[in-house]
C-alpha cells in the first residue's frame, strides 16, 4: 500500500472531522464534487452537513470562518488555489491574524493554500505566497515537503489555537508517495535534517526540498556532502537547527520557489548573518524564482523557478568559494 501527498491531506481532514465535531470544511467545490484537486473526495458523503460548498467569495469565506471560530468551531478553509487567497487577504491578515491579540479570543482556523507552480498553469494558478503571510504577526505558516508532514502538520494545524496558513504544494500532490501514514511527528516549529552532510548547508522547504535532495545526491557523486535542512514551517522558523547546521558546515545556500524580494530565503540569511556571522566561512547565498509573474509555457516555467540543475550550479559555486 502507498499513499500520496494529496491522499494524506484528504486523510488528515477525514481524521480531523471524525475526531472533533467542531471541525468543518468550507470552500469552493469542496462538497459533493470533492474539490478541484479531490482533496475532499467523499468527505461530504462521509460527514453530511460538515463539508460545505461556498460561493466564489474568498473574503466572505475567511470572514465567516473567523466568526465561526469565535463561536467555538474549528474551520478548515480550502482556497482553490493559493493565488485566490489574495481576494480574502484582508480577512486573513487584518481579521483572523489580529483577533487574538486584540480581543484575547483565539482564532483556530486552518486555511489550505494549494501552492506553487506546475507546468502550464501560468501566472494565476502557480503562486507561492508563504512569505507574504509570514510577514504578518498572528499567523502560523506551514510548508510541508513530505507525505508524512502533509498529514501530521495538517492535523496539528487544526488543533493549533491560531490561524494557520497551510501551504501544500500542488507539484507533490500525485507523485510523492509514502508507504503509510505516520503515527508520530516532529512538532511544528522544528526543522528536519532531511539529509546529513558536512560540506555545506542547503536550506529548503516545500517542493524545493526534493530539488535540494536531488542536488545532494548529485554532488555526493562529486565527493561533496550536502546537508539538506527542511524548514517544515516558515513561521515559526527554526533558526536554531539552521544555525547548528551552518556551525557544522560553514556554508549556507537557501532556496525558495517564491519571488526573490524579501521572503523566506532573505529571512534565513539575515538571521544567520546577524546571529551566526562567525560560523560562516564564505558569504551565504540564496536562490529564488525570477522576479516576474510565473510563466505559462513549460520551458519558461522550468527556467523561472529554482531546479536541481540551477541549485546544483549555485551549490558548486558556493563549494568553490
Amino acid at each position: 500500500m502507498s499513499i500520496t501527498y494529496l491522499e494524506a491531506i484528504r486523510e488528515a481532514q477525514a481524521k480531523a472531522l471524525a475526531d472533533d465535531p467542531r471541525v468543518y470544511i468550507y470552500g469552493q467545490d469542496v462538497g459533493a464534487f470533492g474539490g478541484a484537486f479531490k482533496a475532499t473526495k467523499n468527505l461530504a458523503q462521509e460527514f453530511p452537513g460538515r463539508v460545505i460548498d461556498a460561493p466564489i467569495s474568498e473574503d466572505a469565506i475567511v470572514g465567516s470562518a473567523v466568526g465561526a471560530a469565535i463561536e467555538g468551531m474549528r474551520p478548515i478553509i480550502e482556497m482553490q488555489f493559493a493565488d485566490f487567497s489574495t481576494t480574502g487577504f484582508n480577512q486573513i491578515v487584518n481579521q483572523a491574524a489580529t483577533l487574538f491579540w486584540r480581543t484575547n479570543v483565539p482564532c483556530p482556523i486552518t486555511i489550505r493554500l494549494p501552492s506553487g507552480g506546475t507546468s502550464g498553469t501560468g501566472p494565476f494558478h502557480s503562486q507561492s505566497l508563504e512569505a507574504i503571510y509570514a510577514h504578518y504577526p498572528g499567523l502560523v505558516v506551514m510548508t510541508p515537503a513530505t507525505v508524512e508532514d502533509a498529514y501530521s502538520m495538517l492535523l496539528e494545524a487544526v488543533v493549533i489555537d491560531d490561524p494557520v496558513i497551510f501551504c501544500e504544494h500542488k507539484l507533490l500532490y500525485y507523485h510523492l508517495k509514502a508507504e503509510k501514514l505516520p503515527t508520530e511527528a516532529l512538532p511544528t516549529g522544528k526543522a528536519r535534517i532531511a539529509r546529513p552532510g558536512r560540506d555545506m548547508t542547503l536550506v529548503a522547504y516545500s517542493a524545493m526540498v526534493h530539488e535540494a535532495l536531488a542536488v545532494a545526491e548529485e554532488l555526493a557523486l562529486e565527493g561533496s556532502e550536502v546537508e539538506v535542512v527542511d524548514l517544515r514551517s516558515i513561521k515559526p522558523l527554526d533558526t536554531d537547527t539552521v544555525m547548528a547546521s551552518v556551525a557544522r558546515t560553514g556554508r549556507l545556500l537557501c532556496v525558495g520557489e517564491s519571488w526573490p524580494w524579501g521572503g523566506v530565503t532573505a529571512e534565513v540569511i539575515a538571521r544567520v548573518s546577524s546571529e551566526g556571522f562567525g560560523l560562516l566561512d564564505v558569504p551565504p547565498q540564496r536562490l529564488n524564482a525570477k522576479d516576474t509573474p510565473v510563466p505559462y509555457h513549460p520551458s519558461l516555467w522550468a527556467a523561472h523557478r529554482p531546479t536541481a540543475r540551477s541549485i546544483a550550479a549555485a551549490a558548486r559555486k558556493l563549494l568553490r568559494m
Binding site: 467542531r22 468543518y24 452537513g49 460538515r50 461556498a54 460561493p55 467569495s57 474568498e58 473574503d59 466572505a60 469565506i61 475567511v62 470572514g63 465567516s64 470562518a65 473567523v66 466568526g67 465561526a68 471560530a69 469565535i70 463561536e71 467555538g72 468551531m73 474551520p75 481576494t87 484582508n90 480577512q91 487584518n94 481579521q95 491574524a97 489580529t98 483577533l99 487574538f100 491579540w101 486584540r102 480581543t103 484575547n104 479570543v105 483565539p106 482564532c107 483556530p108 504577526p137 498572528g138 502560523v140 493549533i160 489555537d161 491560531d162 511544528t188 516549529g189 513561521k235 515559526p236 522558523l237 533558526t239 539575515a270 538571521r271 546577524s274 546571529e275
Partner: protein, 319 residues
Amino acid sequence: MLLARILDDKLASLYRGGKIHGGVFLGRGQEALSVSIGLSLRKQDIFAPLIRDAAGRLAFGETVLDAVRTYMGSPLGPMRARDGNVHRGKPREGLFVMISHLGAMISMVNGALLAHRFKGITGTVGVASLGEGGTSTGAFHEALNQAAVERLPLVLVVANNEYAYSTPTSRQFACRDLVDKAIGYGIKGHDVEGNDLDACLRLLQDAVDRARNGQGPQLVVARLLRLCGHGEHDMADYVDPRLKSATHGRDCLKVAEEQILQQGWTDRSCLETWRNEAIHKVEEAVAIVQREPAPDPYRENWCALASKHLSEGFSGTGA
C-alpha cells in the same frame, strides 16, 4: 440613546482637551436607529456594531466603563489599550470588535450564525451595522450573498447618513434606493426614517423577528443625517446646508423626546432626571478611568499568538 449622546459629548470634550489618543467618532443623529438594534436583540444574539453605534452597544449590554476605558487607553478595558476608540467589544459575549475595513464584519456575523447552526443553537439572530459607503465594498456583496445562499438569520442595518467621510451619496452609488439591492440578493428589504425612534423600534423588531423566525437575511436601510463630522477632527463643512433643514436632518433625540411626551410615556421632569442620571454615570466612569494606570510596555508580552510556544519573539535584534 440619551446616555449614548451624553457619553459621546463627553468623549468629544475629552478629545478637545487632549485627553484621548487618536480619533473620536460620534453617533450623533444616529442614536434612534442604533439603540433600536440593541433593544431588538437578546442574549446569545450577535451584534457587530460600527463606529456610530454607541447607543446600540449600550443597549446590547456594553458598559459605559468599557467604552471610556477603551477610548482613554486603559489597560483594564476589554481591549487592554491594544486597540482604541470604536474598536472595542467582547466577542465571546456576542459583541464583535470592528476592524476598520468596511463590510468585513458582515461575513464574520454570518460565520457565528453558521456556528450556531452547526451546534444546534436555534432562534439566534446576528446584526451587522454599516453605512451607505460600506455598501460599495466587495465584502458587503460577498457577505450578503453568502448570508442569502445559507439563509442565515442576519439583519444588515445600513445607516444612509448622506456622507461617507466627505463623499456624498451621488459619488457612492447610482441605484434609485439602496433598499432595492435586497431584490438582487433575493432577500427582504426594509426602509425606515432613521431619526424616528418609534419607527426604528418597530421596524428593527419586525426585521429581527423575521430573521429569528427563519425568513432569512433582512436588509434594513435607514435614511438619516450624520449630525457631526466623520470624526471630531472633521469640521464637516462639506455638508449641504439644505440637508440640515430636511426632515431626515432633524435630531433624533429631539424627535424621540417629542414622541415620548406626546404619547404620555413620561413628562419633562422625568426626562430631566434621566439626563442627570446619565451625566452622573458618564462622569463617574471618566473619573474612575482617569485614575487608572497607563499601559506599561515592559509588562506587555508582545505575543500575537494564542499558542505562545509557536511565537518566535524575534524582532531582528539578534540573540
